[in-house]
Symmetry: C2
Subunit: 168 residues, 2 copies
């Protein structure tokens, strides 16, 4: 598993091959196994496979080409009715998305977490006809990979661990 | 990996056994492999193993007993100097924490994501002597599990997938 966590990369180009419905459900199920504060599970999902809808969705972001050419997009929402603390709930949504991205990678598929589309949050919510209070957090585009990925750049541990209080 | 995502649970009781430094570094490294917007990697970490410091930290939360009896806590921060969009950065922090929790589980350890302590964010930041703008997001307590875990309750997929726009 550690090697899969290390080797996951954003995939933005996909082949024309479909992703079957069972697989999509498995990916979303993995998202739901994330922890959340008070186990409130504040996430909601809309699955988009319809070509016309993907085209409309794509118009809401500068990354239109990614959405238009993906066989599936999963829009991830925060359900404000289930929310108990906005910051903690948004962290939980991030954990949920990460589980989905890891599952996508594990299943030999590729995906990318799109956030730029949030600038048109309201339009996307209207387009996907979600209930009031269900707020767009991200869109994940996924499919069968049609690109090779790089090494990935990360800061060194010494740059991110800013304190060590050791047992004396 | 999917089975490990499914079987991860919060562990709140730990044996007295230490967690070695190499393992702690591996867990944090896994956190850093999370994606972030513009790859800004907005996370910072402080590792606490010192008994006296764990006691002081524990006083900042009603879950004092968990922190006091854990061999290690990792405090996770948002570095506001690296931040480009607060909501997206907080999602990235959630993804980072989830990677760490999965790594902890995979390594046969147990951990719990503590958020209640955020009510005393400023005191914790002062206690752990982090620079200005480095903001507490969560504390993860971890160690060798000393409790069995349950099945876990999650909503059914039909309750969280609120729309399906299928390809026609």
């Amino acid at each position: 598993m550690l090697e899969e966590i290390r080797s996951r990369r954003s995939i933005r180009k996909f082949t024309a091959a479909e992703v079957d419905d069972q697989t999509i459900d498995t990916i979303i199920e993995m998202g739901t196994w994330a922890p959340s504060g008070l186990n409130n599970q504040p996430w909601k999902f809309v699955v988009v496979k319809e070509k016309e809808m993907l085209n409309k969705l794509s118009q809401q972001t500068v990354y239109a080409h990614i959405i238009k050419n993906a066989p599936v997009c999963i829009a991830v929402f925060l359900d404000n009715k289930a929310s108990y603390n906005r910051e903690k709930d948004i962290q939980a949504i991030g954990a949920c998305i990460q589980n989905m991205l890891l599952a996508i990678h594990h299943l030999g598929l590729g995906g990318v977490w799109l956030g730029e589309i949030l600038k048109n949050r309201k339009q996307v919510e209207k387009l996907l006809e979600v209930p009031d209070g269900v707020e767009l957090m991200a869109v994940i585009s996924l499919g069968h990979p049609a690109e090779k990925t790089g090494k990935g750049n990360r800061k060194l541990l010494d740059q991110v661990i800013i304190g060590r209080k050791w047992r004396v």
